[in-house]
């Protein structure tokens, strides 16, 4: 009897220990629920600032019976796939929009057709580029959040020293770029002391290619065009700019020392003259170096027409979500105009309390942005920053995004590797992109099966 009791106790303890293993999913005991009650779990999101907390608080206030479990931290593919494989995925995942095509094709996230219909989500309020990036084969799989765009930053203080104006920095005239770059950069004794133009490749290659009139990936995300002569020309142009400045080794190692998040940023340290970059740097510059002589211009195509690439995160509902209705209500509210307004108000108050300017909020919800800028935004009084805000707002309408693709990660790797081989001096642009084309095409074909 005593022996049986001991055995039972041992098995019991073991079962408890194994059952107690934590996870990120909704848990087995949390099945079901409606838009207004039940448990709801998220992955990939965090309470990093007032923009996040204000919106989550709004959802909690309006859905008091929904038990929200936010597993904080950036999206982790390994963690997500482990949860999916264990049959216990979170209800919601917050991830980079470029990953949506792959997960949609594999069936790990739900089409939002029913969600959009039931919750009456107005898809037209979202920016077209962001909308396209969450849509695969005509089906919407995600609700976009922010819309990060790229603009060209110029250090006007340095331009003045060189006897130049911001207007003279014209990235549309590719033939004149080498001469312009030579004038802006400082290379002495093989040592790079100041970057003239940073083409930001491989990351920004799609934008340079688009400026040259070609998309690197077809609109349906299934056909790579990496060996297009215009892509090769774009890569050659970017690589030449780097070679002119001491080569990739010097260029990268110099750029690696930059700190874009502090008062010692490359703008204040006069380490760079012209560079395309995401709009978030304006916030950092306004906060850390408000007196810097910064000019923001749109990136343009070769005809001089403004152009930008949009990126950002999105919310998706997983295939095994236990409370898809609450998940849908959550994403609707997190990206609704009123919620964004509340978040922007909180940001304005926080910035005011810190004595810092509010340089806007750039969401994927065009209606929300319009309202925020009309009702909450106040010019800072510093013309440079106010003009920059206007520029960033204006380019949102000229944005394109890399389309959702069933093999997005492999496609990215193919062209990143190609650019890296060229930068490292291992291959010429045409040769590298032809190989990338073969690799991308093979991956896309395989994913399409």
């Amino acid at each position: 009897m005593a022996r049986r009791l001991r055995a039972t106790a041992f098995v019991g303890v073991l079962t408890l220990a194994l059952a107690g293993c934590g996870g990120v999913g909704g848990g087995d005991d949390e099945k079901g629920g409606t838009a207004t009650k039940g448990a709801l779990s998220t992955m990939g999101f965090g309470f990093s600032d007032e923009i996040a907390t204000t919106r989550v608080d709004a959802f909690k206030r309006d859905h008091p019976d929904v038990e929200l479990k936010v597993t904080e931290g950036a999206f982790d593919e390994q963690q997500f796939l482990s949860a999916v494989a264990a049959g216990n995925p979170p209800d919601l995942v917050y991830l980079d929009r470029k990953l949506i095509g792959t997960y949609a094709k594999r069936g790990s996230i739900q089409p939002l057709t029913d969600c959009v219909k039931k919750q009456d989500v107005n898809l037209d309020q979202y920016r077209p580029a962001a909308r396209e990036q969450v849509t695969l084969d005509g089906t919407v799989y995600g609700i976009p959040e922010f819309s990060t765009v790229r603009v060209v930053y110029l250090n006007e203080g340095l331009l003045k020293q060189l006897g130049m104006t911001a207007d003279q920095v014209d990235l549309a005239d590719w033939a004149a770029l080498p001469a312009l770059n030579a004038r802006l950069a400082t290379v002495s004794g093989g040592r790079l002391a100041r970057i003239g133009i940073d083409p930001k490749i491989p990351e920004f290659l799609p934008m340079w290619a688009k400026a040259n009139g070609v998309d690197m990936l077809s609109a349906d995300g299934r056909t790579a065009k990496l060996d297009d002569p215009k892509v090769i020309e774009a890569l050659t142009t970017g690589v030449n700019l780097i070679q002119q400045q001491g080569g990739w080794g010097r260029f990268k190692s110099f750029r690696d020392t930059f700190d874009f998040f502090g008062a010692q940023n490359p703008l204040s340290k006069n380490q760079i003259v012209a560079w395309p970059m995401e709009e978030w740097f304006l916030n950092q510059a306004a906060k850390n170096t408000p007196d810097a002589e910064l000019v923001v211009k749109p990136f343009t195509d070769r005809q001089g027409k403004p152009l930008t690439q949009s990126a950002g995160q999105a919310w998706v509902i997983t295939k095994g979500a236990k409370n898809p209705e609450a998940a849908c209500a959550f994403v609707k509210q997190m990206t609704a105009t009123d919620t964004w307004m509340a978040a922007a108000k909180a940001r304005v108050d926080a910035r005011k309390a810190a004595g810092q300017p509010f340089t806007g909020l750039y969401t994927a919800n065009a209606e929300a942005d319009k309202k925020i800028f009309e009702e909450l935004y106040q010019p800072t009084g510093k013309k440079r920053f106010d003009d920059a805000v206007a520029t960033i707002r204006s380019v949102q309408d000229a944005a394109f995004a890399m389309p959702a693709s069933p093999a997005g990660a492999e496609f990215d790797k193919a062209y990143y590797d190609a650019v890296n081989r060229v930068l490292a001096g291992q291959e010429q642009p045409a040769q590298a992109l032809q190989r990338a084309q073969r690799e991308a095409a093979a991956a896309l074909d395989k994913a399409a099966k």
């Binding site: 093989g190 990660a409 492999e410």
Partner: protein, 315 residues
């Protein structure tokens, strides 16, 4: 008539005490056995099965026979990453062993401060691998890194450690030498166990320092040398964290530059499994690595029979 029962030879009945002790022994072993079955043996069997399937983690696996293994053999990215890993192992392991032995010999000569230096040499082992990766990105910076600055002081123009494909691997090997403290400590312990009278006998026979080292020290610490050879070889073939952090692991490196020259086998395996969702293929990669490690280890064990001396054995 009396009957005699005799138990079969070799099958003696165990006493109740022995049986009870055995039960307790199994009970105490149970956590490890259960952990091994659930967390090692189970996943290994599962991954062996998955290596014969097309599996993306999301959908059920589909049996594809040897397709993954055939693809493995023809995939240039696999060959490249395996080549890089072998190159790294071939340089890293002998260097770690040589430098560690040199340091251990020096440490043995240090008197009262030996504890302090032992701690100093071991401290880098305690540094998280991710931090080591970041630290060495800074140290290996072409223009402003400490290593190239130091080379500059003696008139040498340092290479582009992190961008020149020819210098990426030497840079990684340099980084790997940062954490050789464990090997140093093992060698130091082995050196301290070498009986002093052997050195005295050798000295009386007229053996010089080199002869004493070759004929006494090396054979007496050969067990430790063999152990570190095996352990460091296996660890080198599974190199991941530091290099992933340096070249693949953060947003900046993912979005800008990572070099083919830094593509290690396990990094490529990780990317196939979790970024491209080719878990079946990645499982095949894992089994190939397992077989490679097994073969290398068996070869090393075979060699050890000739060169390794264990205390108490007659050779």
């Amino acid at each position: 008539m009396a009957t005699v029962t005799a138990s079969a030879p070799g099958r003696r009945r165990r006493t109740p005490l022995a049986r009870r002790e055995a039960r307790w022994a199994y009970l105490f072993l149970a956590p490890w056995i259960i952990g091994f079955l659930i967390f090692y043996a189970g996943p290994m069997v599962a991954s062996l099965w998955l290596s014969f399937t097309d599996y993306d983690v999301i959908n059920p696996p589909e049996y594809t026979g040897l397709a993954n293994y055939r693809e493995l053999m023809s995939d240039p990215a696999v060959a490249r990453s395996l080549g890089n890993t072998v190159y790294y192992t071939a340089l890293h392991v002998p260097l770690v062993m040589l430098i560690s032995l040199g340091l251990a010999l020096l440490l043995k000569r240090v008197g009262r401060l030996q504890g302090f230096f032992r701690t100093v040499f071991y401290l880098p082992v305690m540094t998280p691998a991710v931090a080591v990766g970041i630290l060495f990105l800074l140290l290996l910076n072409t223009q402003d890194g400490l290593i190239n600055r130091a080379l500059g002081w003696v008139g040498i123009a340092g290479p582009s450690w992190t961008t020149d494909p020819h210098w990426v691997m030497p840079g990684i090997i340099l980084m790997s030498l940062w954490s050789l403290g464990s090997t140093v400590i093992i060698y130091l312990a082995a050196l301290q166990n070498v009986p002093r009278d052997l050195y005295e006998a050798a000295a009386i026979d007229g053996a010089g320092a080199w002869a004493r080292f070759r004929a006494v020290t090396l054979p007496m610490i050969s067990g430790a040398l063999f152990f570190t050879l095996i352990v460091n070889t296996i660890a080198s073939l599974q190199m991941f964290t530091e290099v992933y952090t340096m070249y693949f692991g953060n947003r900046e490196t993912q979005n800008s530059f990572n070099s083919d020259a830094a593509s290690f086998y396990v990094i490529h395996l990780f990317q196939e499994a979790f970024q491209f969702l080719h878990m079946g293929f990645a499982s095949a990669m894992a089994w190939l690595l397992f077989v490679i490690i097994l073969i290398i280890t068996l070869m090393q064990v075979k060699l050890s029979n000739r060169f390794v001396y264990y205390e108490g054995e007659d050779k």
